[in-house]
């Protein structure tokens, strides 16, 4: 289903994000809605866009606060906008804000919207902590109680262990396996060695550190004010380790399988807070408002695998689908952005794309393609920058768009693995 090149095209005007910060650090006392509003509002000012031009806000969030179930609407209710902009929050796990960009593109393509803000936010410093189901039941019963006696009675059945709070784990509800367990499984089944993973992580950090130094990352970040005097300015990501080394990485102990494992904190993406927003328009609207778009959305695809198999293998299916829909082949793509949940996952995906056996399995005439690391994740990836689940997709789209324009490449590809065995891919086309 290639997008009709003569039809309405959805273009990316600009993207902006907050700094990405290790959970529990910079944004310890903030909320998801504050982060999402901050970068979206600053994007509005940097693009000099009038708030009343916006037709819709689509935002992703994987772990929403029960107090703000629809963070997109809170973004749309910034005072810079009229109060009448509809908004919804979606959850495509780690591909959420890429999905928001895809949905925005579809809305624009179908003529249902002209200007859409698409993005995502994750606030792992503020995950909901739950009471046990039994304690919750007792509280509800107490609330309904008609007398003091009944109320006390409701509490009498509680035992100390019922007070233990329940924190959400990053485990698959269908298998009970955590993300890390799955990465371990993939490393073992696909024969990805510890040293390969650590070398990959090192590359991610070194590239991110370079992009931080030369200001390419800062151009995508809305500075954040904090501190007692509000004069501490955070304008870079705090998880990048410019001085890390292969020695340092190889000293780390495996986290998920202590005896036979290879997945460590160093070659995995960390728990991160952050938000990112992309401004999208129809090509006509952009022209009439005088904007020079960066890229157009050419195609997108999403696939899913059995979570009990190799959980993070979705991209191996999604990427060929997106290429086919775009009417392109791997070799047409000039720049790649691959989400790095784990080094083991990236290398497993890469292995599949390059394998004839995998091509057979998909019924393709040959392998999807060989990864050229000089065209891939040039500014580092989620391992170094951090991975606020629902914000990562919008970051990848923004970074890819900038790289394509900077390098004069016609096509670029985003690949994201997601919880639940899903994979997401999107192909962008340079319009400058």
């Amino acid at each position: 289903m290639p997008i009709d090149p003569a039809g309405r095209r959805a273009v990316v005007i600009a993207g902006l994000r907050t700094p990405f910060a290790k959970a529990g650090t910079v944004f310890r006392d903030n909320t998801a809605s504050e982060l999402a509003r901050h970068c979206t509002r600053e994007l509005l000012y940097r693009t000099e866009l009038a708030g009343d031009q916006v037709s819709e806000v689509i935002y992703g969030q994987v772990v929403p606060s029960p107090l703000v179930p629809n963070v997109a609407r809170e973004v749309a209710l910034l005072p810079q906008f009229p109060k009448t902009i509809p908004a919804y929050t979606l959850n495509r796990a780690c591909a959420s804000s890429a999905q928001a960009v895809a949905n925005a593109a579809d809305q624009i393509h179908a003529g249902r919207a002209e200007v859409v803000l698409a993005g995502g936010v994750e606030m792992l410093s503020d995950v909901p902590i739950l009471f046990s189901r039994k304690f919750a039941r007792v509280l509800q019963a107490a609330a309904r109680a008609k007398s003091l006696g009944q109320r006390i009675g409701a509490f009498s059945s509680l035992r100390p262990r019922d007070f233990k709070p329940v924190a959400p784990a990053i485990a698959e509800p269908s298998t009970g396996m955590t993300m890390g367990d799955s990465a371990e499984k993939m490393a073992k089944e696909n024969g990805i060695s510890r040293i390969e993973q650590d070398e990959y992580a090192l590359m991610s950090h070194q590239r991110a550190a370079a992009a931080d130094r030369d200001g390419r990352l800062a151009a995508e970040i809305a500075p954040w004010f904090t501190g007692a005097g509000n004069d501490t300015v955070v304008r870079s990501d705090n998880l990048i380790r410019p001085d890390t080394s292969i020695e340092a990485l190889s000293r780390l102990k495996p986290v998920f399988d202590r005896r036979h494992g290879s997945v460590t904190a160093g070659n995995s993406s960390p728990l991160t807070d952050g938000a990112a927003t992309v401004l999208m328009m129809s090509e006509e609207k952009a022209a009439s408002l005088g904007y020079k778009p960066l890229v157009a959305v050419r195609s997108h695809a999403v696939a899913a695998v059995d979570p009990g198999w190799q959980l993070l293998m979705g991209p191996a299916y999604a990427v060929p689908m997106a290429l086919e829909r775009a009417g392109l082949t791997w070799n047409d793509i000039g720049v790649f952005e691959i989400h790095e949940a784990f080094a083991a996952q990236v290398l497993s995906n890469v292995q599949a794309w390059g394998s004839a056996e995998w091509a057979d399995r998909l019924g393709l005439s040959g392998p999807v393609g060989e990864v050229d690391w000089d065209r891939t994740n040039l500014m580092g990836g989620s391992i170094a920058l951090g991975h606020p689940f629902a914000a990562t997709g919008a970051r990848l789209v923004t970074t890819l768009a900038h790289l394509m324009v900077e390098r004069g490449e016609q096509f670029g590809l985003v690949s994201i693995c997601a919880q639940g065995g899903m994979g997401f891919a999107m192909i962008l086309e340079n319009v400058q």
């Binding site: 509002r41 000012y45 004010f225 005097g229 509000n230 004069d231 501490t232 300015v233």
Partner: protein, 712 residues
């Protein structure tokens, strides 16, 4: 045309007050007669068992008495008659055999509240625009249509004193808590509820009014408690405003009589006091100031219809320092505009944003903003160290360092990013606007906006067109200043503009008095006794001695020897005394609060404090320094009208409102006498007191600043 419309719902007659040709309802004798007639008719109408009074105006129940009526009064007797007529009308309502219910939505002030007080039951809406109060004290009067008597009977002595002596307005929530209204409902069901209440009252229902507790009983309802409360109120009045305003004392007296000798006698003394107060100079001046401020709200400082406002939705502020961030915070608080705050580096911007938010936070703490309003408003403030977000600004106010080169640079940078017809305003107190605009590509869109510090509290704004300013930017600046809650005067582009022009000789004179050995607290005391909120020395500390010294030098350079500063200012600056801001000034400061005079000053100045001085002479020198300069500046056309000069002095430097402003004072003293005093001071103190040419001329011709002596 009738001011009232009658509707009927069953046995309830609803009187809709809808004054023709006016956006608000006011109470005047004509309205009163019509209302009495209507009541009389309803009294004999068998189909009517009860009455509801409501307003057909949006957001106004009754705004108060028609103040034009007050201004037309010429004798004490007339004024007393007006009061008694009002009292009679309210008595009719109170005595009505058919219960009357007031259904209040919107402002309910002065005579409006007095009318509501006479009703059997008061129902108010929960809308934020529903505000109740008796602001008569602000015009030098007391509530004269029975309010001073009925209020304590309804809400108790202490709450009544508070409302009457401060003139403040309360919202319906507070009104309900103190018992001023019986119930509060959403606007949508006001008339339905009022009608239902009226029916119940007609059926003999007696609404229960909750008691106010034992302490309230002791203080409000026992002779000893009342004596204590009234005595305390008197002390507080004396401490706060001295003896300059008679109305608070008369109010307390009426409350005492009303309480000791009953309603009938209370009403008599209320009318007597009202009549006498209405004829005092104090009340006259305050009424004039009221009219002048009202007129200024409609006057853009340029001929009406000569141009158009650019409605400001996006404001840019350059300079995130104390001034810039205060402007940003106040603009967000009052006008709810988007503000983009720019400075050279982000830490400064961050501090500025925090300071701007502080303006909002203060309102949050005082519960004048809800948590949700606060969150929404603070999101309007953003900051940057580049020019992003300025391209669509309607108005940009620069508040950078007071230096011509810096300001010109900012104007140049701004012109490169903003739309060609966006307005650029420069906040300066010492640099001529024309010079800042001189290098600009579009100098016609540049105007001065001189804010006073602290911006969120000071009520005045001077808007200064330079010679080449177009009309639209002036209108835009004036209207936006008004949206920021300021009283705006348009003044000429001459050094010091208006306020600092007349203030500088006054502050200089305070310095000369110190040189003569007059103790600083004596100097300040003389002027606070005269009605200023603070004396000149304390004012210097507040303004900042660096700022004052710099302004003084600029004025000296512009106007020559008449403005030669007292040598004291330089001495203090050399001693690192900046005033309140660094805790070292003429006075000592403890935790930012003024303490005793600093004994080091006498040594620094090198004179012994004298005790043998004539207070009248001290006052004469200070007042005449200001009056003479005001006359001179006025004759040069620095402000367009004596009205603007007077309002500027009252709101800009706290010139005693009951004196009406410097131009009113000149008329009150008489030009001949002023010139005589100036001639004498010139001999005694020096050339700086040489009488302004315009005063000498006026003394010859007998002219006045307000020729008809008149109200406006």
């Amino acid at each position: 045309m009738s001011a009232f419309r009658l509707e009927r719902r069953g046995g309830v007659a609803i009187i809709m007050f809808d004054q023709p040709g006016s956006s608000v309802n006011t109470i005047s004798p004509a309205v009163g007669w019509e209302f009495e007639e209507l009541l009389e008719r309803l009294a004999h109408d068998d189909k009517v068992n009860s009455i509801v009074i409501a307003s057909a105006k949006p957001d106004t129940f009754i705004a108060g008495a028609d103040i034009e009526e007050f201004a037309r009064l010429t004798t004490v007797e007339d004024a007393q008659r007006l009061s008694r007529d009002g009292q009679l009308l309210m008595q009719r309502i109170a005595d009505s055999s058919k219960p009357v219910v007031a259904a209040i939505h919107g402002v309910c002030l002065g005579g409006g509240l007095e009318l509501a007080l006479a009703c059997r039951y008061r129902l108010a809406t929960s809308h934020p625009k529903t505000l109740l109060g008796v602001p008569e004290i602000q015009l030098g009067l007391i509530p004269g249509a029975g309010g001073t008597n009925r209020l304590p009977r309804l809400v108790g002595l202490r709450a009544a004193l508070d409302l009457i002596l401060t003139g403040r307005k309360v919202d319906s929530g507070k009104a309900r808590r103190i018992g001023l209204v019986d119930d509060v409902v959403p606007e949508a069901i006001l008339l339905d509820t009022a009608t239902a209440v009226a029916e119940r009252l007609a059926g003999g229902w007696k609404p229960k009014r909750p008691g106010r507790g034992f302490l309230a009983f002791l203080l409000d309802s026992t002779p000893l408690g009342r004596m204590f409360v009234l005595g305390k109120a008197r002390d507080q009045v004396e401490q706060k405003s001295g003896r300059n305003y008679p109305a608070p004392y008369r109010a307390i007296e009426v409350l005492r009589t009303s309480n000791d000798r009953g309603l009938k006698r209370g009403l008599e003394v209320e009318a007597e006091a009202f009549g006498e107060l209405a004829m005092t100079d104090v009340s006259r001046r305050l009424v004039e100031v009221f009219f002048a401020t009202t007129a200024l709200k409609k006057d853009d400082g340029v001929p009406a219809g000569s141009g158009a406002e650019r409605t400001v939705q996006r404001l840019g502020v350059v300079g995130a320092g104390f001034m810039g961030s205060s402007i940003a915070g106040t603009a967000v608080l009052k006008a709810a505009v988007q503000v983009r705050l720019k400075d050279a580096d982000l830490p400064r911007v961050g501090r500025g944003i925090q300071h701007a938010e502080q303006v909002l936070r203060t309102q949050l703490k005082r519960r004048r903003l809800t948590k949700f309003e606060f969150t929404r408003q603070r999101a309007l403030i953003t900051g940057t160290d580049d020019w992003s977000g300025f391209a669509r600004a309607d108005l940009v106010i620069e508040a950078v360092f007071e230096e011509l080169g810096v300001k010109r640079q900012v104007v140049g940078d701004l012109e490169a990013v903003v739309e060609s017809d966006a307005v650029i305003a420069t906040n300066t107190s010492t640099i001529p606007i024309g010079e800042i605009a001189a290098g600009a590509r579009n100098p016609e869109r540049i105007v001065g906006m001189h804010f006073f510090s602290p911006v969120d509290r000071m009520p005045l704004l001077e808007v200064i067109p330079h010679e080449g300013s177009a009309v639209d930017p002036v209108i835009t600046a004036v209207r936006f200043g008004r949206r920021m809650g300021k009283t705006v005067i348009v003044v000429g582009d001459s050094p010091g503009f208006w306020v600092n022009r007349i203030l500088t000789p006054y502050l200089n004179e305070a310095g000369f008095l110190l040189e003569d050995g007059i103790p600083m607290e004596a100097i300040d005391r003389v002027m606070t006794d005269w009605g200023f909120p603070v004396g000149p020395i304390e004012l210097l500390d507040q303004v900042g001695l660096d700022v004052a010294e710099k302004a003084g030098m600029v004025m000296h350079a512009a106007f020559g020897s008449r403005f030669t500063p007292s040598r004291i200012f330089q001495l203090l600056r050399a001693d690192d005394r900046l005033g309140r801001k660094n805790g070292r000034g003429f006075y000592r400061y403890r935790n930012g609060k003024r303490d005793a005079p600093d004994p080091g000053i006498a040594k620094l100045v090198g004179v012994e404090n004298r005790s043998d001085f004539d207070k009248d002479k001290v006052r004469e020198r200070l007042v005449h320094a200001m009056l003479n300069e005001a006359a001179m500046a006025m004759s040069e056309g620095v402000v367009r009208l004596p009205r603007d000069g007077d309002i500027g002095a009252i709101f800009g430097i706290g010139y005693p409102p009951f004196r009406g402003g410097p131009m009113r004072t000149l008329d009150a003293i008489g030009t001949v006498e002023v010139v005589g005093t100036l001639d004498r001071l010139r001999k005694e103190c020096g050339e700086r007191f040489a009488a302004a040419a315009v005063l000498q001329e006026m003394a010859r011709t007998g002219a006045r600043w307000y020729p008809n002596g008149g109200r406006r």
